[in-house]
Symmetry: C2
Subunit: 222 residues, 2 copies
């Protein structure tokens, strides 16, 4: 199977796990670890060691039998696999509460995803900036600004009823990846990708926990 | 192995997949399907059929050989497993852009997680409501309001530097599950669970896509 065909089959679950491994390796590196193993990663970070070996083997031969994985090297390899060795400029579409909160979210910039623009259609907002200085542009200028600021990703933070139209305009502007917060299913075009965030799913995981872990009688507080 | 020991070992990845299956089954049910199979679910929703069979077999025997899974029944079973057959009242801690956006996010209520309170410490906000009518309370009254409104889950939407202290106060108030948006690692106590949202991880999945899917030359627009 040629590498490109293999890569096409990589699921969102797999890239999500690679991102998790990356954070675990960064933690180990900061603590001075030079090598690690799938067993150690699994025990320390509550992961599945067989899954780790399988995921990593899919992309190459990173470990040395009897020695384990070299932490810094493996971290760099995952950074390369995920395409994080270069920055990707991001815009937010929708300057409401959610859009402005995302524009001000430091985690994006820290992970190599600088927010360079917010787009809105409200005259009261256009021409102003977020509290951390991201300019708010007229959504009608999306094409020109996407080109001048080299925007590669768009975060959709508009109401559900506007999301589909906004999504088409984003693809028309040449942006090929969308992170969607609107509670609507957006369809990707060939050569594009839409990742939708369903915040309810996280709450369902917590609901599972509540259902299966009754409060212990006489449990020590604190 | 007793059921409770089994349940303890269920990972966040598993409950996440159950939530995904639930959404797929709801779609099939709305379209009038009475039965389905792991193969059909996998093909239709871009999932892994072996994983589906493994995940479901872990919780019981839901399929009939040669017939498949009964859609409505399996959906109800997953609702029961995830504890979604009763509502869980949720509060938001932090009335900034993110907190207010989350308070107004319809998806939570639709999935059985009504937002019943926002807590903040700003006198200008306390006593007002979100645009959709959720009251904003003084964070100092967390304990009393948690009890009177029967709050079971807290969403942490405060700045990183405040998150740890807020987390302790939430556990002290008797709330056992936290969905954390602050870019800080929060430690659960025994009998509690913290699920952190790292929005950068979703962007990393899109970065992987960009790295492995160059724009096609001569690709048809639209």
């Amino acid at each position: 199977m040629p590498p490109s065909a293999k890569i096409d089959k990589v699921s969102e679950f797999t890239t999500h796990r690679l991102s998790v491994y990356l954070r675990c390796l960064a933690t180990l590196e900061a603590e001075g670890f030079e090598t690690t193993s799938s067993k150690e990663l699994a025990a320390r970070f509550n992961l599945n060691s067989a899954q780790i070996r399988k995921d990593l083997a899919y992309f190459g031969q990173f470990g040395v039998r009897g020695v384990g994985y070299p932490v810094a090297h493996l971290k760099q390899q995952i950074i390369g696999i995920l395409g994080l060795d270069s920055h990707h400029n991001v815009c937010i579409v929708g300057g409401g509460n959610l859009g402005m909160a995302l524009a001000e979210y430091d985690g994006f910039r820290e992970h190599g995803f600088p927010i360079v623009a917010v787009f809105d259609n409200s005259p009261a907002k256009i021409g102003t900036t977020s509290r951390n200085g991201v300019p708010i542009y007229d959504f009608r200028n999306l094409n020109a600004i996407t080109e001048s600021l080299k925007i590669e990703m768009a975060v959709v933070a508009v109401p559900a009823e506007a999301a589909r139209k906004v999504c088409e305009a984003i693809f028309d502007a040449g942006i090929r990846t969308i992170l969607n917060f609107a509670p609507v299913r957006l369809l990707a075009r060939p050569g594009t990708k839409v990742q939708s965030i369903d915040l309810s799913i996280s709450l369902e995981g917590l609901s599972f926990f509540l259902s299966n872990n009754a409060p212990e009688a006489g449990q020590e507080p604190g």
